[in-house]
Amino acid sequence: MRHAIEVTDLHKRYAEVQALRGVSFHVGAGEVFCMLGPNGAGKTTCTEILEGHRLASSGAVSVLGHDPARGERAMRERIGVVLQSCGVQEDLTVAELVEMYGRYYPRRRSAEELIELVELDAKRDARAGTLSGGQRRRLDLALALVGDPDLIFLDEPTTGFDPHARRQAWSTIKSLCSLGKTVFLTTHYMDEAQHLADRVAVMAAGRIVALGSPQELGGRDALPSEIRFTLPEGVGVGELPQLPPDADVQLDPDRGTGGGVLVRTAEGVAAAHALTGWALERGIELRGFSVAQPTLEDVYLALTAQDGEGSAGAQPAAAVAEAGAGTPG
């Protein structure tokens, strides 16, 4: 099947900074694709090029078979966009705005149904200028969906939401997937990526540093397990039992000087067995004993830190790029 989005060796250079340094990926039809990355990594620039708001310096981009740089109406008829901060005509009501934006599209969803979907029924006759922040974001979502798009861009769709509103937004986005829509999502939130995305691309300093499903991202599924516990006073690390040969034992940096221990090993089960058996035999209590895989956040932090370290100048420079992207062009 043809991909909804294809990007090959995309570069974007602003006057002073290189915001994108050779980005390539594709998004399959019906897929939820998530772009993760710190501020200034190039997410917004990349998204804006895909939406046709910005021109690439070099590289090939195809969105639903169109070149977004040409700004074709046929492409805009099939995409929906939720931008980070985007105004509306504040003197019109929710219902009027959904109706008005709906008229711009040849194929449109019923206004009533959409207002219900984003749960603004109670506010349908309220002027947009009187809505709260969360209600405005939901209106944004309704306006992005009004043309019944095949591809939806969501730029940090839940930033500033309370946990309840985020769950609701997630279930709305999930329902889009079940309709076969393709979703291109950018976010800061690991749990959002974990919850929604089929595949995640991690960006740092203008490059994709990892690409994969949330489960396997950065080889996460193959990474060693982490066992953490706290030894009682008077028991040293040297007294621990024989552990699997690959085990890396160190003082847990997260637990300070209180005797916290961190064991990393690919054989988590064997190590846990050895440790708990030893503790029972010796009558030692291992407080806070836990076995875990590294979280998506750990992987993300490791991935984005690699690029930040060693080139301390790179991060602020990239931040300037995204700040520049925010100014009206």
């Binding site: 929906g80 966009v81 008229r103 599209y105």
Partner: protein, 268 residues
């Protein structure tokens, strides 16, 4: 369907979109109290106050024409400026700074169709406001509208509207934030109104100021409209030099407007 048919179907669709946009703009405009008060209630208030205060005055410098015959077309000219210039400038500034333009660009609605809708809505507002002011002039102050000079009145009104609306789109570039829009626009329009024969005739005491006023668009608009009301005017009420000045300003306004629109739809 041939390409030509598809093209004309597309045009018909865009015209419908423009017509709808005019409706939405009108709805938003009259609902926004700050904007409708500025555009309509202010001129109406000026008309009533100045009109009542000078009810029985006649202007010697204008051959004994009554003040109200001078002032009704004057306040219409002022209103064309405030609605055309200020409203267009504020609408475009809002569109840009609030990110509405960005949202719009992601939709299939052509930015040009949207802007044409906004402009036509402004024109409609100007005509409604003019009709109301003339009605008050006729009913309350007994001003008479002359049938013979009606063509001149209408053409001058259209020329003034074109000049101020296009200049308004152009001047939107000077407004960094909508908050600063009102003071900036007031700073341009209010002094201009005072030395452009709108509220009172200048009477030839400061020649250089009158020369400047004649070169700017408000004075020619006021002058053209006023001459359509004066009983001594002969012919259809066209004042050639006023219409020429307004036409030149419209050309300048269009040129600046096109530049502004290019900037608005540019990508980087």
């Amino acid at each position: 369907m041939s390409a030509e048919q598809a093209g004309s179907a597309g045009l018909a669709r865009d015209l419908r979109l423009v017509a709808w946009q005019v409706r939405y703009e009108q709805r938003a405009f009259w609902r926004n109290r700050r904007r409708s008060i500025f555009s309509l209630a202010f001129p109406l208030m000026f008309l009533l106050i100045f009109g009542l205060l000078n009810r029985h005055s006649h202007l010697k410098s204008l051959g004994g024409v009554s003040y109200i015959t001078f002032f009704v077309p004057g306040i219409v000219a002022y209103t064309v400026m405030v609605v055309g210039f200020t409203n267009m400038a504020m609408s475009i500034a809002l569109l840009r700074s609030e990110g509405i333009l960005k949202r719009l660009k992601a939709t299939p609605m052509p930015a040009s169709a949207y802007l044409i809708g906004v402009t036509l809505s402004t024109v409609l507002t100007i005509f409604l406001a003019t009709a109301l002011l003339l009605l008050v002039g006729v009913v309350v102050f007994g001003v008479s509208i002359r049938a013979s000079t009606l063509p001149g009145l209408i053409v001058t009104l259209i020329a003034g509207t074109a000049a101020f609306a296009t200049l308004g789109i152009a001047v939107s570039r000077l407004i960094p934030k909508p908050d600063s829009g009102s003071p900036i626009l007031m700073f341009i329009t209010l002094p201009l109104a005072f030395f452009s024969n709108v509220f009172f005739p200048l009477g030839g005491s400061v020649k250089w100021l009158e020369t400047i006023a004649k070169a700017l668009p408000l004075q020619p608009l006021a002058d053209g409209l006023q001459s359509a009301f004066y009983p001594h005017t002969t012919g259809a009420g066209f004042v050639g030099k006023d219409l020429l000045t307004l036409a030149i300003w419209t050309v300048i306004g269009c040129w600046l407007m096109v530049k502004t629109m290019r900037t608005l739809s540019a990508k980087d």
